[in-house]
Symmetry: C2
Subunit: 340 residues, 2 copies
């Protein structure tokens, strides 16, 4: 009635094949010091046990784990869950397992750092690199192939695939200016990640070129939650001179702005224009109908995983940093002014 | 200039320690056939290499991988991404890595089946068990500790933690009947998963007890997408005698129903009541303000991972099936009729 062994260890194999454990170890490590008959016996036991060769033993033998570690945060945000879905699909298509570390669950980065040192995987994908984290540096210095997706770090010489957040935000600012908006609100987050920094700076740069600065009372700095967008909109729109348009640096923040406006009876786009960034699926739903900037998440993931596989095959390849264009998508949360 | 070895194999260790590879294997498998001086030398090399003992070697030695495999589908749905986030947090708190298999990416289940046979993990969590899949059976027959969360399979003798979907849907139906609704629409999915089946059957049972059946033209069977809810609502609401209330078996389907109604100018709750199931965070946003049934996802994940850890420690423990109550949450998508 005993249940089968949880993992087929060399001890189990040795027992089943009637050989010593060190003989099993020799077979698993392809040592020449095992005679053909014994090797055949051990492999026969493996086959008869209806096990494919134990992954642990295989990793021991080949130095490959066929697994890729993904460091991500905020898997509950629609943009990140879409990216996660696409990464999993792409890895799966290449026969690679995905080990997922949610770095939010590990604020002191101890478990993630240990995971890097334990060399559990053939490569790493970072989607949530921050300027303040040491994890990507640790990963790179470990020599394990590593690619940064979505968020980049300029000074790192490593493969990176990013949307051109700076250009996307510039295009959006130019569109709002052309439509006559002079008093614009900004809902953003601390500039510790490249996406937030590039979107805010690109947006402000175009306004500055037109001689416009954003009033401090029209700037809200917080996290990435719907709640932050909601509270920011309610505060800005309760002023005597509310902004006529609000740019939120992610779609989820913009959904919060829309709901905050709705809660005050402010009509969009009649009284207020709202724009986001990401072009999540939800942005096209009637509830939001959100003008936003499209991040080409499919292409980011495709190219990123391709770069990682290239580097696993050839660790000495020159690092490549790719920025993909981000297109403006105009919907009903701004008046349907055609882009000239 | 050579990069460090990708994984510290027994071959690397042997080279660095100046011993044979089979000696390294003996040290790693705790064989008594290694003298103390040699063992110390190998372990010193391990320590000096600034590696924590290689996870692969450790797994080989202990038979544990400290990793848990999670089989999930639809990570882009807000309910599932929340569940994923909670599972990751809970596993991480217990020092366990998460290997994520998205079963949607593997329609013939070949890769997932192989993963089970390869014994990569100490245990499995299924959140997306379907009556037609063979994966959970394969996992259970492999002897690897396995728990089903969220979706169950009655006839399986294994640990399961589920919301009481049947009871939750009954309470919702009773609420709609008490408010006088006699002509109710149902947006559902094929009954190949326990959640869909229990929600639909519980809902229909209460209506049947009151002598009410749902007209076939008021039933829409499809997938789990916003698009399905949207199309279903537009079709039902374009009839000469549209339903006065629609129950969608998930929040995302209900969001689609709300947006479909909005696209036709049907006012909620004045002309139509809408209710969902899950109580995702988004259900409370002003855009939706959705009456729904709360799934206690935090408690489902907590108890489920606890059961899995119990079973890893004691594979012979009696299987436990837990159903947690699901409470009705009334919001603005139905008139604010107090529950008696």
């Amino acid at each position: 009635m005993g249940s089968p062994p949880r993992t087929l260890t060399s001890r189990d194999l040795a027992r089943l094949a009637g050989v010593s454990q060190s003989t099993v170890s020799r077979v698993l490590t392809n040592s020449p010091r095992v005679n053909a008959e014994t090797r055949a016996r051990v492999l026969k036991v493996l086959a008869e046990s209806n096990y494919t060769p134990n992954a642990v033993a295989r990793a021991m033998k080949t130095g490959r784990t066929d697994a890729v570690g993904v460091f991500m945060s905020r898997v509950t945000s629609p943009f990140h869950s879409t990216m996660l879905d696409l990464i999993g699909r792409k890895l799966s298509a290449h026969g690679l397992q995905m080990i997922l570390w949610n770095v939010e669950h590990d604020p002191d980065e101890a478990a993630a750092g240990q995971a890097i040192q334990q060399r559990l995987v053939d490569g790493f994908v970072f989607t949530s690199a921050t300027f303040t984290s040491r994890l990507h540096t640790l990963a790179l210095s470990s020599g394990i192939p590593t690619v940064l997706l979505h968020r980049g770090i300029e000074e790192l010489a490593c493969d990176q695939v990013l949307g051109d957040n700076w250009q996307g935000a510039r295009d959006l600012a130019a569109y709002l200016l052309r439509a006559g908006h002079l008093d614009i609100g900004l809902v953003t987050s601390p500039l510790s990640v490249s996406t937030a920094r590039d979107r805010e700076q690109g947006f402000r740069a175009v306004l500055a070129e037109a001689g416009i600065t954003i009033r401090p009372s029209n700037v809200a700095v917080g996290g990435f939650s719907h709640q932050h967008g909601h509270a920011a909109a309610r505060r800005m729109l309760s002023q005597n001179d509310p902004p006529t348009a609000i740019f939120a640096i992610t779609d989820v923040l913009a959904f919060g702005v829309l709901d905050g406006a709705r809660s005050l009876g402010v009509r969009v786009p009649d009284d207020l224009w709202v724009a986001g960034f990401d072009n999540t699926d939800m942005a096209s739903w009637e509830s939001f109908d959100l003008t936003t900037v499209d991040q080409p998440v499919g292409a980011i993931v495709d190219r990123g995983v391709d770069l990682l596989r290239r580097r696993i095959a050839d660790p000495s390849a020159e690092p490549v940093v790719t920025r993909l264009p981000c297109d403006l998508v105009i919907r009903g949360s701004t008046a349907h002014t055609p882009v000239p």
